[in-house]
Amino acid sequence: MNLSNIKKEFPIFNNSSLVYLDSANSSQKPQSVINRINDFYSNEFSNVGRSVHALSIAATNNYENTRVSVQKYINAKSKDEIIFTKGATEAINLVANTFGQKYLKENDEILITELEHHSNYVPWHYLRQIKGIKVEFAEIDQHGSVSIENIEKKINSKTKIIAVTHVSNVTGAILPIKEISQLAHSKNIPVLVDGCQGAPHLKLDMQDFDCDFYAISCHKMYGPTGLGILYAKKKWLEELPPYQGGGGMIKEVKKNNITYADLPNKYEAGTMQTAQIVAFKESIKFIENLGIENVMNHEKKLMDYAVEVLRKNNSVKLIGNPKEKSAAISFTIEGIHPHDIATILDEDNVAIRAGHHCCQIFHETLGIPATARASLGIYNTKEDIDRLNSSINKCKKIFNLK
């Protein structure tokens, strides 16, 4: 496989002039992933784990093979540290709920940042409502990132967990999560990383990052919808209570008591997303075949080009200018509301996103109600950026800007 003609691995780009710049929202799917889903349902379908017939045994093996693929890909110590969830949102809810239940009491503090996606704020807000804990926000800096200093400033003896995004889905800023883990651990505070925007674009190494929890959305990583991953250090998964209750996560069920299964089953209640999990192995394989270094290199070049082109374009104002930047860029145009931009671009088959991108705190802090965002996937090209730019020029023409 070759990055230069990678678009043809994605059927959605066949016979279409689509410029898809909304991958931070959800990525397109390669043929190999789609085929695997198809094959699995057509020839191999069974539920996993519970039946002893051959289809079920094969499905269970496939299911567990994906877990091992993920473990290796993110360099986790054990496959028991890989929990399949509905998405990153569920992964973060799982941690907030169980950690909150076991370890948090009134006036304890949770430290998040002003960059966080609602998925990494609302679950903590619940604890504020239910338990009276406090949610603190580390401030964004002038580049649209959050420095380690700004995090350190907000840590105090009441801080019980730090929850930060790996990469901002608005500015693309990459946070120094290894350093954040070091800092936090020096004060005995665990760290949750919202890896939604990191996982599809950066090299993942849990043992190097040393964070306690890392949440991934598989649908942003060239995988099926309805699937996410929670990586968590084994000691946490062993200590925390289970999250959802149901079939498959129990050891013994009596009328007066219930004991729970060992890891990872303890956190996988009910029938899971069998087909999606089986197929996600192909997503990992797809990225591995390209090589994550090549992907990073390709996306960095493209992003540098996008920044250059948009910066030259009068009236376009880039939001944030982080030194370490991944695959998302947001902007405004004085005199044109982002939703009007998105609608006009759409007519040229250029798909971007406009709004607050589930980051109302960030937008409020900057005092802008909405931004337009272009986000990259491995299938994007310089031509896509050029098409973005010329469609922006069309907007300006319609709105009589120069």
């Binding site: 005199g335 044109i336 509301h337 982002p338 939703h339 009007d340 609608t343 006009i344 007519e347 406009a354 709004g355 607050h356 109302q360 937008h363 109600p369 909405a370 319609i398 709105f399 009589n400």
Partner: protein, 156 residues
């Protein structure tokens, strides 16, 4: 569908220079509206006299061209009309923007209808219908003295 139909001159013009973008002094009714998707916000102020005639209407807020133009055109058209006439016009507009091919209201003159129909292009853009209707829903809310802020984060 062509964006030229959506962004007609009149919409761009009202979007850029909205009429009645101010706060009515001595208003006796008001309501706020919000479209969380776009971040559009609108605050509508009314002055209804004893005879239920809309003596003045104004709005504050910010948003996309469609929502600003819609609020601007709306306030222009309903000012001076009676409460029941206003309600009838609102219904007619909301009906048109969803399904009806044209406006039927007897309370609108032909040139007023033509002006409103400039917003009909939005029909082709379901996610943008909310932008066009925000100020209208908020106006109902103000007239009816509803306490809750209008919010368009609903699929319909």
């Amino acid at each position: 569908m062509n964006t030229k139909e959506l962004y007609q001159e009149i919409i761009l013009e009202h979007g850029k220079n909205p009429r009645n973008l101010r706060k009515t002094e001595n208003f006796n009714k008001d309501a706020k509206g919000h479209n969380p998707l776009c971040g559009d916000i609108v605050h509508i102020y009314l002055k209804l006299n004893e005879k239920k005639k809309l003596e003045d209407i104004s709005f504050e807020g910010s948003g996309c061209a469609i929502s600003m133009a819609s609020a601007s055109i709306m306030t222009d058209l309903v000012k001076g009309k009676e409460e029941n006439e206003v309600k009838e016009i609102i219904n007619d507009f909301l009906g048109m923007i969803k399904i009806n091919p044209e406006l039927k209201s007897k309370n609108l003159k032909d040139d007023e209808k033509t002006k409103l129909m400039c917003l009909s292009g939005v029909k082709q853009y379901p996610m943008r219908v909310k932008c066009a209707t925000l100020s209208w829903h908020t106006l109902i809310s103000a007239i009816d003295n509803k306490k809750e802020e209008i919010n368009t984060e609903k699929f319909d």
